[in-house]
């Protein structure tokens, strides 16, 4: 049995899975249910000035009949009275002292408001604070949320205010609505933030009702930009996370990975790219808290299989494998191979390659089944056929190096080696 215990800036939890600051963590009933189900910790729904929400609030993107490939919301921070939240936090802490209790904050944009909020929350006995510099809607218009996170200078100033009174670890949650998260991350760390988390949601329009012509979600015939999350954003989140893991300043602090995590595999991937733990929202909203069982079990079995005893053993292991394009080995060459015993003759590899890649698949017409084979000399090893093939391991990419030595693009140019002639 691997040890899933997590220690994030001294905040301990029995497993590295926290619920992200969102509706699943906005009151005692939910959080108790989450802890009963086995979640390692929560980041309590963002507290600050009380706000008013609208109806409806969510929309989603379907793909090929699958619901919630991506999820979108126009909710604001907690709309419940601050005092009630604080009392409930205290009560939950008493019932589940072994779970991580981090509280997300977004105060009005002045020093006093931040000081007051931080102090009140610290008094509950919470283990840590997460600063919400990421919310892309509603709060931005008031100079809060993403508008703080998008400007490294403002972000720095706010973190400085917080650090003046903070006695527990402070995590800054970054917005992905920027071309790079690194400047804001460096800035908040310089101001004293102890750790980072990312990503918050990405501004989006998820779709339009083609009868009413109103985009989703519909609020009395109108809509606004929302925040996009769920499985669709995972690759974007992983990219932002990697940039933090590659930066010599930002990679010195723990990072909590967020964005589209649905399965234990997703979580392992975030951790391999440098996240010390992970946070989940959409998957829980989709299926309920019970998903924690397979998140833990799957990660545990994978760790046992690979021989990792503790989660720290694999955090960041994939980071060195991400390099610059110019450093890639041009002599590495792979060629697709079709296993005729596994092939079901669907022709998807053929039409993809023929219409959009390198015309490298041969078709031999049959009735009703055609035979498909690879033209090895034409195949550029792009992976497209393997990606579209519906049968696992039917198309494999086999190594046929162009040369024995490692050869990168700079060297290739220096030697004046020939480019393609067709």
């Amino acid at each position: 049995m691997a040890n899933l215990q997590s220690n994030f800036l001294g905040i301990k939890s029995p497993n590295p899975f926290w619920l992200a600051s969102a509706p699943p963590t906005d009151k005692k009933i939910n959080v108790l249910r989450a802890f009963e189900a086995g979640w390692g910790g929560v980041v309590w729904k963002t507290l600050g000035t009380q706000v008013k929400n609208v109806s409806s609030r969510y929309s989603a993107v379907e793909y090929n009949g699958q619901r919630v490939m991506g999820f979108n919301n126009i909710e604001l921070i907690s709309d419940r009275p601050l005092d009630i939240n604080l009392i409930e936090i205290k009560e939950v802490l008493k019932e589940f002292p072994d779970r991580a209790m981090v509280v997300s904050l977004m105060a009005d944009n002045d020093r006093n408001s931040w000081h007051e909020l931080v102090k009140k929350v610290q008094d509950t006995g919470a283990h840590g604070l997460e600063l919400n510099f990421g919310c892309p809607h509603g709060m931005v218009e008031r100079g809060m949320g993403a508008s703080v996170g998008q400007d490294p200078e403002i972000a720095k100033m706010v973190v400085e205010w917080v650090m003046e009174v903070a006695q527990i670890p402070v995590i800054t949650k970054l917005t992905p609505n920027v071309h790079s998260v690194v400047p804001a991350a460096r800035s908040v760390l310089k101001a004293g933030s102890n750790g980072l988390s990312l990503i918050n949601t990405i501004q989006s329009v998820t779709g339009i009702d083609l009868d009413t012509l109103v985009p989703n979600p519909n609020v009395a015939g109108h809509s606004v930009f929302g925040g996009y999350c769920g499985p669709a954003v995972k690759p974007i989140a992983l990219k932002f996370l990697t940039t933090l893991s590659q930066d010599e300043l930002t990679n010195k602090v723990p990072i909590s990975g967020i964005g589209g995590i649905t399965s234990w595999k997703d979580a392992v991937e975030f951790m391999l790219l440098g996240a010390s733990n992970v946070q989940v929202c959409t998957a829980a909203m989709r299926y309920g808290f019970r998903i924690i069982r397979d998140l833990c079990d799957g990660m545990n079995n994978w760790m046992d299989e690979k021989g990792y005893k503790n989660i720290e053993d694999f955090v960041g292991l994939s980071v060195p494998k991400m390099i610059k394009w110019e450093e890639l080995d041009i002599n590495y060459h792979i060629i697709a191979n079709i296993d005729q015993d596994k092939c079901i003759h669907c022709g998807l590899c053929y039409i993809a390659c023929e219409d959009t890649s390198h015309q490298s698949i041969n078709i031999e017409k049959g009735n009703p089944y055609n035979k498909y084979t690879i033209k090895e000399e034409e195949c550029v090893g792009c992976n497209l056929c393997k990606i579209v093939c519906p049968v696992s391991d039917c198309i494999t990419m086999e190594e046929h190096r162009k040369g024995d030595e490692y050869l990168n693009w700079k060297e290739f140019q220096k030697r004046g080696l020939p480019l393609n002639d067709h």
Binding site: G65, I344, H345, C346, K365, P368, Y369
Partner: protein, 449 residues
């Protein structure tokens, strides 16, 4: 033992003849199934559909919510796509070729999806086709079965005026008079014929029989071209002693009665022997069981390996409680007071392969006796040889002979469907009707092939 009707209650009849392949009840089910299809290129399912329906396209149109487009994709390849979705033996056609079979997984429910779109089109009378302005050409079609209707529709689309001569009082051919009652209802068959003719330019003259009410020579004179789609009709005789006893019926008339009367009017025996193992035999056996017969036994000369029906069909009969005796050939029907009492069968064994490639049954000399009060003959159908001979049509044992462009030996006379192929499926007849139309358009110089 006796032959009698009205064996079951009205509720039991309704229950027994309910749709064997029920439709999708909800759009969700159709969309989930449509999304399961992986959208093959040069798809095996399309290649295995005699009318070459672009299956992946119509399925993706269901998935995308373009149901109208989906219906049009289906119906432009197969104007009887609605009926076909209910009666095609898909296990040996499209679904039998679906790549999911190669993954040892259930094939996509192509027919059920096809039904989903076409049923909507037919019920809601979607106007999916518009015919070209009339070009003054007139074509006569004989037979309002699948072949004749498909030919008529394709011709009318191009502006030809079509007159169909049909001997029965309803259209649809064996779809209306032959196919099992738990596959299609008379109401559906009528709706489908009406939908096809709603295009315009097609007139059906019922109760007009070629050879009796009309002559081919007259049609040749009065029309620019003629298409013959008269099907095959008569049940093959067994040619054994006792065949004329009371209680011996042929499957085609038995089913014809069943399809044209209320279920409680159809008399069946207590113990029935059905001779044959084709689709008609299966349909006769299952339907007599569903009408209340106590014991139904299918008698077949060869073994399960050589059977002409599909596994799915045989399973249907078995699930209905019919039993099967393999390697048995009817030898004599014994009657008492003119009524069937026993069926004597020869026990057979398999010999060398015959010209169909299947091993031929050989008489062992041994016999056995079955107590029965009804015998249904379903040993195949034979063509309307007399009509065809009298019209001087070149034929092969009554099957009209055509060239590669569906033309018969008479100039301007074309043919297709069961009357040419000897009896296949509805979907084959539709394709042959389309082929006939294409050849006629070229003959009339309206379109080049």
């Amino acid at each position: 033992m006796s032959i009698q009707n009205n064996r079951l209650s009205a509720e039991e009849f309704t229950k027994n003849f309910v749709d064997v392949h029920p439709p999708f009840e909800h759009a969700e089910g159709a969309v989930i199934e449509a999304n399961r299809c992986i959208n093959c290129y040069d798809a095996p399912c399309t290649k295995s559909c005699p009318t070459s329906i672009d299956v992946p396209l119509f399925i993706k149109q269901i998935a995308s919510g373009n149901i109208k487009g989906s219906a049009k994709t289906i119906l432009s390849s197969n104007i009887m796509g609605g009926g076909c979705s209910k009666v095609c033996p898909v296990e040996k056609l499209c679904e039998g070729a679906c790549v999911f079979n190669l993954l040892e997984d259930v094939p996509i429910s192509i027919a059920k999806l096809q039904r989903y779109s076409t049923e909507k089109a037919i019920h809601e009378q979607w106007k999916l086709f518009e015919r070209k302005p009339s070009n003054g050409k007139k074509v006569a079609v004989v037979g309002a079965g699948p072949a004749g209707l498909a030919c008529a529709h394709a011709l009318s689309l191009q502006g030809v005026e079509v007159t169909i001569y049909e001997k029965e009082e309803k259209g649809g051919g064996l779809m209306t008079y032959g196919v099992a009652a738990y596959k299609v209802t008379p109401t559906f068959c009528k709706e489908e014929v009406d939908y096809i003719t709603s295009l315009g330019g097609i007139t059906i003259n019922y109760k007009q029989s070629l050879g009796k009410d009309i002559l081919l020579a007259d049609l040749q004179k009065n029309f620019d071209a003629v298409f013959l789609g008269i099907g095959v009709g008569i049940a093959r005789e067994l040619n054994i002693p006792g065949e004329n006893a009371d209680g011996v019926v042929d499957a085609i008339s038995f089913i014809y009665n069943l399809r044209t009367n209320d279920f409680n009017k159809i008399a069946v025996g207590d113990k029935i022997a059905v001779i044959g193992m084709g689709m008609t035999a299966i349909d006769a056996a299952t339907q007599s069981k569903r009408l209340g017969a106590k014991e139904v036994t299918l008698i077949y000369r060869r073994t399960e390996n050589e059977k002409p029906c599909t596994d799915v069909e045989l399973d249907l009969a078995r699930l209905d409680g019919c039993s099967v005796i393999w390697l048995a050939n009817p030898k004599e029907i014994i009657s008492e007071n003119g009524k069937v009492k026993q069926l004597v069968c020869s026990k057979m064994k398999l010999g060398e392969p015959d010209k169909s490639g299947r091993r031929a049954p050989v008489d062992t000399g041994e016999t056995f006796i079955l107590d029965v009060d009804m015998v249904i003959k379903a040993a195949g159908q034979i063509p309307f040889e007399e009509v065809i001979q009298n019209a001087d049509l070149k034929n092969n044992q009554g099957k009209i002979m055509i060239d590669h462009l569906t033309a018969t030996n008479h100039k301007g006379v074309f043919a297709g469907g069961d009357c040419v192929n000897g009896g296949k499926e509805v979907v084959n007849a539709v394709q042959e009707g389309k082929d006939g139309a294409k050849a006629i358009l070229s003959y009339l110089q309206l379109e080049s092939i």
